[in-house]
Amino acid sequence: MTTWIFKFSSKQVTIAAVVALLFFNFQLKAATNEIIITGGIESARPIGVVPFKYLGNTILAENLSEVVASDLQRSGKFNPLKLSLMPQFPTTDTEINYAAWAQKGIDMVLVGSVESTGLNQFLVTFELVDVLRAQATGGQAKTLVNGKLVMTRDHVIEKRTKTINGSDFRQYAHIISDIVYEKLTGQRGAFLTRIAYIKVLDRDTNLKPFRLVIADYDNINPTTLLSSPEPLMSPTWSPDGNTLAYVSFENKRSQIYLQDIYTTSRTRLTDFPGINGAPRFSPDGKKLAMVLSKDGNPEIYIMDLQTRNLTRVTRNRAIDTEPSWTPDGKSLIFTSERGGKPQIYQVNLVTNRKSRLTFEGEMNLGGAVTPDNSQLVIVNRTRGDYHIAKQDLKNGDMLVLTSTYLDESPSISPNGSMIIYSVLENGKPALAWVSLDGRFSFKETVADGEVKSPSWSPFLL
């Protein structure tokens, strides 16, 4: 297990822990990875996530409100108020002193409680409260319903009660985060998603140092699906979230595999001479775009997953690689050297017409289109530096989003709000996140190995 430590507030975390102990019996866990916020906290919306009151005697495995606060923080859209600055610790709307929160500049407060109702059963209640609305109405608004004036509490934006298992705390916390996020931003939350990545342990001391790992989107609960003595690459999710495609060198050459993440059973999909790489599922999950060099140099192909028939998409003596589907599934974005240096191109799969999309910088690689089809996310090389950038697909404006070192392998969250990518941190590849507007970013420092090729799952519920 992991404890997240926010660099900007390590002192506050200690205070928070003490405060939290007044409300919870929770276990302190050893920190195995650390998260560093690299920028953008000031632009996020303040919110009060009050520790949920625990009514019970057993020890809780997870702290619900702590996970919610972490989720909201990681979205870059919210800045949860530090516990030490909270004016009070209410459990329900009726206990909230609206003016006290408004004075702190907080307009939204999340309160709740956890009640032990049986063996490993917990009743979770939470309310999301609009403090300013409550102040305006005095907590009692009058509304016309069927021609009659009735009292409402419309400042309570959301109130839910649910019984959950002890093992579902973390998952339910992500659901609460999704609800809060969607209520306040209008955009679907992506907290109940996962990531897949390749972890590389010390190659001198491990017989099988290359690992295919899946974890919650925040890299909690990592599970190793495969350990290999030879490199593993390019994990990518099927649209239903059940299958990963990836490249394995277990047989001393590259081959593409499909693996069910629940049964862990796998099948070898390709074994062509040369490169078998860069797999990407089509949006309908029926096809897999890939790179094969069986005909002499890397070309883009599409394989029909049912018939296993191949369609060749590119025919060029230059390197063509990194296929990525547009959200409508009608085009592929890809990297090509046909113009001299690697740049991003798009091919219409109906007309087979190709067009160049990127022109800024010395190189552009690893392109992917956001779910709303508005932005192209790329790895841009300018003056020798590799950074994650986005390019507006309508007006062509490019904006560099990151300032980390040797950025690569960007993968966009299914709601299009965040990008996960790989950086070089202390000489080792590690995970980093940046919001699509580039304002909020953070990275993880991993103690026991390199982490690379992250891939964000689709929505899982």
Partner: protein, 191 residues
Amino acid sequence: MLNKNALKTLLIVVPLVTLAACKSGPTDAELEAEANSQAEAAAQQVADAKAVADAETKRVDVAKADALQKAKDMFENEKATLVAQNVVYFDFDQASVKSDFHSVLDMHAAFLVKNAGQSIVVEGHCDNRGTPEYNIALGERRAQSVETYLMNAGVSSSQVSVVSYGEEKPAVQGGSEYAFAQNRRGIVVYQ
């Protein structure tokens, strides 16, 4: 001195005398003994010849084995020498074999031409700048340019195969120029 006629007479008479003597000649026992001794002599001769031949074969075999061992030793020595210098380095984003490495690749080529049964895998590697997928493509191009160099030097295509590991198996960790330079490489791996 005998005159010519006397010699002629002798040549005729002596065989006749001998013939006459035989006619009155040896007993059956004497003949048997004679035959036996002749057979023994022949057998001895055969045995002697065989011993000589055997010795010779043995000598040749030993010499052959020596030569084979010597050749094998030479092969292994030569191979060990080549394995010890099996890396060529590339410039950033480049895949052409630099002239600095022609001589070492020529040595590999000469050895491979001489030992047609020997096969190799050329591995292509990259530094960790750029994306992993692009580097897989670049690494293959590097391995292929080493392959092409060897084939131009007479190595059979059936002896060479290539594999690209891109940036996945760096020789040196990290993001320094030194690490980059060490990682942009082609490796000739003897099978």
